[in-house]
């Protein structure tokens, strides 16, 4: 049985529709990340699952029960907020106690749960402190602890790491992943950070303008993006996109030509406008006499340690190549590159849909 099911879920504010018919199945124990740029409807979707926003249309089920009209408290969910949402005048212990209060548990059980949770999260020493006396990372752990003590069926995370600095973000991200492995609770997690999504998720839901663009494992959305949006959103630096045309069995663009990979051979037709996508790591430095080698001018070189990013001008196209640092060239140099044809993605230019599917 699915833990959470969204069936054509819609959100409207007055006449403005912000979430357009989201379909989603989340299995028991799955870690699902809603990923997308600001304003794509991911947080609104999460808040609908939490019950903080009404569902304007469609059906939302948690644990097999339709919860469209069920109060937030009766949905068996706990939520961790971006700004921690801790009660500022209460100590860490009181914050957790207050979350347990509606459950009317015996005092011994309350103490046991708080003790266990504090132990897991490394908060045991901090139970008597107030939020103002804690660091950002500690506050976020308290927020998680407050959600955990209730042992909910589903955890909802709303951009929990976005207020933390880069180093802490990595650490807390790791802690969240570990916690999920340990508790095995279903998680629905919202973020705009693809690294969080790629590292934590069993399944990524990529959203844009209130629509789901693609649902898949991190490998799927990286390796097989269904749309140009997903292709450019996932992966850093972004995939290079080249407007091309099918001409005499080849992909042709200004100053650039490549054979059509075999898997696309029967999916394109002569004269079709296509978008060729190639990840920066799949642009290889070549010698001038290699077949398929293209001349490129280096405009900017960014040295990153192990590798370097080269901003290249190929014909009228600006491409980024990620090459081993020892192969890097200097700005102004003319070099040769070739596309790793096996790694080419093709999209229909008009619809933006992948031609691989």
């Amino acid at each position: 049985m699915s833990a959470i099911t969204l069936n054509n879920v819609i959100k409207r504010y007055g006449a403005v529709q912000v979430v357009h018919g989201v379909d989603l199945d989340i299995e028991q124990g799955e870690f699902v990340v809603l990923l997308g740029p600001s304003g794509c409807g991911k947080t609104t979707t999460l808040r609908m699952v939490a019950g903080l926003e009404d569902v304007s249309g469609g059906e939302l089920s948690i644990g097999g029960r339709v919860v469209n009209d069920v109060a937030p408290k009766d949905r068996g969910v706990a939520m961790v907020f971006q700004n921690y949402a801790l009660y500022p005048h209460m100590t860490v212990r009181q914050n957790m106690e207050f979350a347990l209060r509606p459950m009317k548990l015996p005092k011994a059980e309350v103490d046991r749960r708080i003790g266990d949770t504090a132990e897991i999260l490394g908060l045991s020493e901090l139970l008597a402190r107030r939020p103002a006396q804690l660091s950002g990372g500690q506050r976020q752990r308290v927020a998680m602890g407050r959600a955990m003590v209730r042992t909910p069926d589903v955890f909802l995370f709303d951009e929990p790491l976005s207020n933390l600095d880069a180093k802490l973000r990595t650490q807390v991200r790791w802690e969240i992943g570990k916690l999920h492995q340990r508790l095995g609770t279903t998680v629905l997690y919202v973020t705009h950070d693809q690294v969080e999504a790629m590292t934590l998720a069993d399944k990524i839901v990529i959203m844009r303008d209130g629509h789901v663009e693609q649902v898949g494992t991190p490998e799927e959305v990286y390796g097989n993006p269904r749309t140009t949006f997903v292709a450019t959103f996932i992966g850093s630096p972004s995939m290079n996109m080249i407007e091309a045309r099918v001409d005499s069995g080849r992909l042709v663009a200004a100053g650039l030509s490549a054979a059509i990979p075999a898997r696309f051979a029967d999916k394109v037709s002569e004269g079709q406008a296509v978008t060729l996508g190639i990840r920066p790591v799949e642009l290889k430095i070549a010698s001038g006499d290699e077949p398929g080698a293209m001349q490129a001018q280096v405009e900017v070189t960014e040295y990153l340690g192990n590798e370097a990013l080269l901003d290249l001008r190929v014909g009228s196209h600006e491409l980024v190549a990620e090459v081993p640092a020892d192969q890097r060239a200097d700005p102004g140099d003319m070099i040769h590159i070739r596309l790793n044809e096996a790694a080419i993605h093709l999209f229909d230019t008009a619809s933006g849909q992948s031609l691989a599917h």
Binding site: A50, G51, L52, A71, P72, K73, D74, R75, V77, A78, M79, F81, Q82, N83, Y84, A85, L86, Y87, P88, H89, F98, A99, R101, P102, M103, R146, R150
Partner: protein
Amino acid sequence: MAYIRKRNRRIFLIFLLPAMLVLFLTTIYPMIYAGYLSFRSYDLAKLFVPRVFVGWSNYAEVIGSSEFIHSLITTFKLMAMTLSVQLVLGVGIALIVTQKLPGMPLARTLLMIPMMISPVIVGLVWLFLYFPELGYLNYFLSFLGIESIPWITSTNWALWAIAIADIWQWTPFVMMGTAAALQSLSPEPYEAAMIDGNSRWDVFTRVTLPQLKPVLVSLMFLRAIDAFKIYDIIFVLTKGGPGDSTEVLSMFIYRQSFTFWRMGVGAAASFVSLVIIVVLITLFFKSLQREQHA
């Protein structure tokens, strides 16, 4: 640099001077003069009789007088009546007008009107309402089958009549401060409580009230100082009567000074009430500090 600093200081002084002058003439000088008077025998009716130094005898008379003690008790009684109702009503109304409902911003503005009216006018308005034979209040009460109430002519009701007028005028002040504090509270803890299933009562008493406490304490403190000085409304409505049932401290001082023309005793009484206010303020800030350190 030094030159500019010196010139700036002179400009500061020039700009400050008018305000300081007004402050001196209307507050500091009268206070010093009242201090001087409080040690003298000074009959306003005998302007040309020398003001003899009488030591602490004015103070002794004030503190020993049952009228003064009575007025002090009446002041605290009135304070308790008005502050408690203003607190409950002010917080209650603030909770309503901060809801995201149509018409609430307008309601908030309208509710502030009483506060903007001069207390003398408020007194006159309520005088019309309370008037024994012709007052509107008894007229409307008669529709409910309630017999006319001797609002300002009975010793049982007069203090309540004054309290009601003061509550009407100053509840908006408490409402406004509380509403501002409510709106500055972060909404996320409330959403967390909603998901966790905490009852509205729990959320109000354990999340909202503790966070409002510093603001409420300050509002009550400001109201307490005002209540200590309440004068205009009483002067218009009852002039301290009937009998001495509404004679608060300020009325006592006024009566001593300008009815009995005993300026020395009036000045001494003013200083005694000043000391009481200063003691209250000190205790208040001490307790606030203790709380912040706790």
